[in-house]
């Protein structure tokens, strides 16, 4: 499996494939933006933020800001930021299912945990494995919870036409694949080349997530139009 991860996909490095496909959901999101649902718009902002964070954390200039040179501090900041954006996507589900302030509590607790992790846990200059592990766990729980809610309320019928289904499926698959990887990343980093190889799993999953998000932007749920009121005209009903 490691050999496969080190191989190239149609001549591309997996990382390049992931980085380039990050643009896909943003382009798809821009297209017909006015027709998007509130969840699709929130997802668009998440995708834009994810691109900015991803490219910024890879910039040489950004890495050189710290001594020792590292982009780990950015990840300590980006993880709660992206989590907050995801909570906004699931905000309605959380408020409808639990209570009005559960999203605020969730964000507050996660930010506090991230600060603790950067200060006393993994450390600011190490990969934020614990924060990302908790992030993945919470996202998996949200996705499963949302699926359960859809199953009990039956509010959606044609799933393939619903953006929320694609978002949820992408989130569940991406975070369940990354959960153990992120938790053990600091351990794997003892062997840099091995960890680099294994981390490509995350990159492949990220590629899949981008595809799911792109589909979520392309499909639009059926809009129920109001019944037109017939008007009387000299020639009959309009």
């Amino acid at each position: 499996m490691i050999d496969f991860l080190d191989s190239k996909f149609w001549g591309f490095r997996f990382e390049a494939l992931y980085e380039w496909t990050m643009i896909l959901p943003v382009v798809a999101g821009l297209f017909a933006f006015s027709r998007h649902t509130s969840i699709q718009r929130k997802l668009f902002f998440y995708c834009v933020a994810a691109i900015i964070f991803e490219y910024f954390s890879q910039m040489r200039w950004a890495i050189d800001q710290f001594e020792p040179r590292s982009n780990a501090p950015y990840y300590h900041f980006f993880t709660p930021a992206l989590f907050i954006l995801f909570v906004f996507i699931y905000q309605k589900f959380l408020r409808d299912t639990f209570s009005r302030r559960v999203d605020i509590w969730l964000i507050a607790l996660f930010v506090l945990f991230s600060i603790w992790n950067a200060s006393f846990g993994d450390g600011l200059f190490h990969f934020p494995g614990l924060s990302l592990g908790l992030y993945a766990f919470l996202m998996m729980s949200l996705a499963i919870g949302y699926f359960l809610r859809l199953m009990t309320t039956l509010e959606l019928e044609r799933l393939e036409k619903e953006p929320v289904f694609w978002i949820n499926s992408g989130v569940l698959i991406y975070f369940s694949g990354n959960f153990l990887l992120w938790l053990t990343m600091n351990y794997l980093l003892k062997d840099y080349s091995l960890s680099f190889s294994i981390y490509k799993i995350s990159v492949i999953l990220g590629f899949c997530l981008n595809i799911f998000f792109t589909i979520a932007f392309v499909c639009h749920p059926k809009v129920v139009l109001p019944i037109p009121v017939s008007k009387k005209t000299p020639h009959g009903n309009e």
Partner: protein
């Protein structure tokens, strides 16, 4: 130097864990899709069944109305119409030059037929809406009906109405009375029963009606949807917001239970 710290076994376990979780999540998504589709399919079937049932009830309601109209037309034609024709024939014989004896005989015959017409009209209107039902309500009318059937002989009638004089809504009383009439009629015609039991009771705001006969019963599976009679009954009860269930088996008579929620 540190490379040796990560064993191949631990890497394999990690990879297996990651693949396992991935497979689990994909399985969850697939399960959700399949489960959701199945539920919607079941809902569609249930909806179709419900629509078919509603259609049957509507057909039964129309059938009840038509039967009722046919009966009234028959009663008017056979009982009133023929008697009026007979009266007309008698009265046509009255002529200015008729003898007083003949005139007196025609008058007497005509009056006799007119009395019969009045009696028949009273019977027909009584059948349509018994005065006791209108004046004293369903329970009194049901008791009266049971008493009349019991007195006619050949059938033991057990009626239990309780002491609560609370009344149902007018339309509920009429519907329930018609149901009772239909049930008694069916039992007398087809059931070969020796005993009928009618129990009316109140449970809070819920009016409970139970009808039972010890007749030959029938197999619900062979009689489609309980036959038109029971469909009519269901239609009547549904229209006044009540619920009905019934059971029957060959040799085991018929039992019908009706619940009506009273808004009065």
């Amino acid at each position: 130097m540190e490379t040796n710290e990560i064993s191949a076994e631990s890497v394999n376990i990690l990879l297996a864990g990651i693949v396992g979780m991935l497979l689990l999540s994909v399985a969850l998504v697939v399960f959700f899709i399949v489960y959701q589709r199945r539920i919607f399919e079941q809902q569609r079937i249930r909806l179709a069944e419900e629509q078919a049932h509603q259609k049957q009830l509507l057909t039964a309601a129309v059938e009840v109305q038509e039967t009722e109209r046919r009966r009234i037309a028959r009663d008017l034609h056979d009982d009133i119409g023929s008697l009026l024709s007979a009266t007309r024939l008698y009265l046509r014989q009255l002529k200015p030059d008729s003898s007083p004896e003949k005139s007196a005989s025609i008058r007497a015959e005509s009056l006799s037929i007119l009395d019969e017409i009045i009696q028949n009209t009273r019977r027909i209107t009584h059948d349509l809406l018994p005065p006791v039902l209108e004046k004293f309500g369903y329970q009194a009318a049901a008791e009266d009906l049971c008493e009349r059937v019991g007195k006619s002989g050949g059938m033991k009638m057990i009626y239990s109405g309780g002491s609560n004089q609370r009344r149902l809504e007018d339309k509920q009383e009429i519907a329930l009375y018609r149901v009772l009439q239909e049930l008694v009629n069916n039992t007398l015609k087809h059931a070969k029963a020796s005993e009928i039991e009618v129990v009316n009771s109140w449970q809070g705001d819920l009016f409970k009606f139970r009808y039972r006969d010890d007749g030959k019963g029938f197999d619900p599976l062979t009689v489609k949807s309980g036959g038109l009679g029971l469909k009519n009954i269901e239609s009547r009860i549904t229209l006044v917001g009540g619920s009905l269930d019934w059971k029957s088996a060959p040799g085991d008579g018929l039992e019908v239970n009706i619940s009506l929620n009273n808004a009065n």
